[in-house]
């Protein structure tokens, strides 16, 4: 029983990160019907920039005196950096191809993904970049179950970001414009919504969330690597599909489910095949229920 609860806690932590990445996929897909292959790279870039910022603060010496401010600042810097990266990536690689065939846009996205991950490799080196490890060492012990401070931080921060995003999308004018663009670009353009700006904004928000997930991943596992965006990227995509692609609430639930499945699969079935479970869910969902658990009916030609 203790083992089960421990795994549940680990699963929620991991699932929260997947949910944050999955949101980027689902929002971008909702607005321009494109799978942003480079999204996993935003996640990795966020992890890198967070590591760089934290190391810088530690080097300057702020880390010991103001750890909370440093951590907040690192999150802010990484999210801003990835938003900035994503807006440019969209302008360079996706926007000119919006009218072309889907295959062209997909290949361009794939090229961008390879380009970014190798760019990170060239600037940061092939080896793991270690996170400053002395942060949040403490933990609560409840008998056999332990919850580290870090897990509490990750889960609460994830919850804050998800609530914030929900408020943004469903309660503000910008969110309304985003939903309108997702439904019908031409119509929303007629009511004076600049679709290009909304698309850029969507990319920026999605990449910012992925960057936050990247720092959490780095803090949680202790290091980041240039190609770390690939596998979590596919898993997060599986989460987005599971929740119904284009659906924000669905992506959150899907992320949690994928995280749980991975942790429980690794714990109870086989640790070596832990990456396979997410793929099997992805394939199963696409085969049996391509609209996902929360999705509306998708037009046949889109799928």
């Amino acid at each position: 029983m203790e083992y089960f609860i421990q795994q549940l806690i680990n699963g929620i932590t991991l699932g929260g990160m997947y949910a944050l990445i999955a949101l980027g996929y689902t929002m971008v897909y909702g607005v321009i019907q494109l799978i942003n292959f480079a999204h996993g790279e935003f996640f990795a870039a966020g992890g890198y920039v967070g590591a760089i910022a934290l190391a810088y603060f530690a080097g300057v010496g702020y880390m010991d005196s103001h750890p909370v401010i440093c951590l907040t600042a690192s999150f802010a810097i990484a999210m801003a950096y990835c938003a900035y990266l994503a807006v440019g990536v969209e302008k360079v690689a996706y926007k000119p191809l919006r009218k072309n065939s889907r295959l062209a846009a997909l290949l361009s996205a794939l090229g961008m993904s390879i380009f970014l991950s190798n760019g990170m490799m060239l600037t940061q080196g092939v080896y793991d970049k270690v996170y400053p490890g002395e942060l949040f060492q403490g933990r609560f012990d409840f008998g056999m179950v332990t919850i580290s401070y870090l897990q509490i931080l990750i889960v609460s921060l994830t919850a804050c970001l998800l609530v914030g995003l929900n408020l943004l999308v469903f309660k503000t004018k910008i969110g309304m414009a985003m939903r309108a663009t997702a439904q019908d670009k031409t119509m929303s353009a007629l009511v004076a919504i600049g679709s290009n700006r909304i698309i850029s904004l969507t990319f920026a928000i999605g990449a910012g969330l992925a960057a936050a997930a990247g720092i959490m991943y780095g803090l949680y596992y202790g290091s980041v690597k240039y190609d770390m965006g690939f596998v979590p990227g596919i898993k997060a995509f599986a989460a987005a599909v599971l929740g119904g692609i284009g659906n924000i609430t669905g992506a959150m639930i899907g992320g949690l489910i994928i995280g749980m499945v991975e942790i429980f699969g690794a714990g109870y079935i086989s640790g070596e095949y832990k990456d396979v479970f997410a793929f099997i869910i992805l394939i199963g969902v696409l085969y049996f229920k391509p609209n996902g658990i929360m999705g509306e009916n998708i037009d046949d030609t889109r799928v």
């Binding site: 799978i35 900035y84 889907r102 990170m120 394939i283 799928v303």
Partner: protein, 408 residues
């Protein structure tokens, strides 16, 4: 005209400033708490110079200032074209064939090694071309079938001691079966979903190869795979056949050449058959193809299995040549590389793919000192090709407009 230039320059300046902003945090912030600018600016100025030259050439070319270069060039290519068409096509094929035949005599060991690589990738590229170029399905897990072919030969050879020529059909068969297993559930999907699901399947196959210790020896791979064995006629005291192992690279080159030629002929014959037309109709408009009575599911499965067969054959040759297989050789990046070759050369065009493979395998060998930039350049190539020339360097002859493009 001037207006357009102004717009281009503005975009260029914004883009380069954006790049500077991207580069600096990665290069200029150090862990010891110092901020530097010199390295960033150096890297950035190289990029600035390179892109500036490209932009300048592009602008001059579009506005017609480079006519004194491009006109003689186009005239020369026109003359060459008329000269080539004066002789029948088979003469050219024969010339290329003879050149390929005598190539190892001049190239030396290293050159032959590169050429073998090129030939194996041509087979892979042609197989992927059936899936992506003809049937229009983006397959990102293609390299898994290469792995299945290679492992089939390695396992059959090291465990059961079977020879290469017995295993070759089995490699193709197992790859085909793997293709059908992967294809059956996935091919009902279209476009992007298919891409990501094949990517997932490719990873699953790699993870299985990595973890099935009893069969594949896990991440350590299988060592000591036997090379190709042939019976060679010996004319000493009468006429006998002697069994020899093809260990010399020169010999192996000829087998790889044979494989590539068979693949090229097979893909060409497929392309201009009833099956090929069915594939192309699916690529252009799946719904319309179905209405015209094409059984889309069967044909898509056939394309998928066919691509897998070519990959399996190439895989068996790969295992025989390296004498060693490990899951490391069959990662997603390899899939992306083969895809990049197909995209660069031109989807659906056989000479294009041969050119693409040669460019992406041979050029990095020439520029060996820039090896770490290889994948970066591959990625950039894919984006640039999609932006400026989506049909590839040598476009396929028979390509219509897709229905999706018109819907916009």
């Amino acid at each position: 005209m001037i207006q357009e230039f102004k717009k281009v320059w503005k975009q260029y300046t914004i883009g380069m400033l954006w790049l500077l902003g991207l580069l600096w945090p990665m290069l200029g912030i150090h862990a010891d708490g110092t901020l530097t600018f010199q390295k960033t600016v150096t890297v950035w100025s190289y990029l600035l110079a390179g892109t500036f030259v490209c932009l300048l050439i592009y602008l001059l070319n579009t506005s017609g200032y480079l006519k004194f270069v491009s006109n003689p060039l186009s005239r020369a290519t026109g003359k060459m074209k008329s000269a080539t068409s004066a002789l029948p096509t088979w003469v050219w094929f024969a010339l290329i064939f003879v050149a390929a035949l005598f190539y190892p005599q001049f190239a030396g060991r290293y050159g032959t090694d590169v050429a073998i690589n090129v030939l194996l990738y041509i087979c892979l590229g042609l197989g992927l071309n059936v899936v992506v170029g003809l049937a229009g399905m983006l397959d990102l897990g293609y390299i898994a079938f290469y792995g299945v072919g290679a492992y089939s030969y390695a396992v059959l050879n090291s465990v059961y001691g079977l020879g290469f020529w017995v295993c070759l059909p089995f490699s193709a068969l197992f790859a085909c079966i793997a293709g059908c297993i992967v294809g059956y559930p996935t091919l009902r999907m279209r476009g992007d979903y298919l891409a990501i699901v094949t990517l997932g399947f490719g990873e699953i196959i790699r993870i299985i190869l990595n973890n099935w210790m009893s069969l594949t020896n896990g991440p350590n791979g299988i060592l000591g795979v036997k090379p190709i064995g042939i019976y060679w006629p010996i004319f000493e005291n009468g006429f006998t056949f002697e069994h020899i192992w093809v260990k010399k690279l020169q010999f192996f080159y000829y087998f790889a050449l044979g494989l590539a030629i068979v693949a090229a002929i097979a893909v060409k014959r497929l392309n201009f058959s009833r099956v090929g037309r069915a594939w192309e109709s699916i690529r252009e408009d799946e719904t319309a193809a179905e209405l015209m009575g094409v059984n889309t599911f069967i044909y898509k499965l056939l394309a998928y299995a066919m691509g897998a067969v070519f990959a399996g054959l190439a895989g068996a040759f790969f295992a025989a040549r390296m004498k060693f297989v490990s899951p490391e050789s069959f990662t997603f990046l390899e899939s992306a590389m083969v895809l990049c070759m197909v995209v660069l050369g031109g989807m659906g065009s056989i000479p294009g793919i041969i050119l693409g493979v040669a460019a992406l395998i041979a050029l990095p060998e020439v520029f060996r000192q820039f090896d770490s930039y290889r994948m970066l350049i591959f990625g950039a190539t894919m984006i640039i090709m999609m932006l400026f020339r989506p049909s590839g360097l040598i476009p396929a002859k028979r390509v219509g407009t897709r229905s999706e493009e018109k819907e916009g």
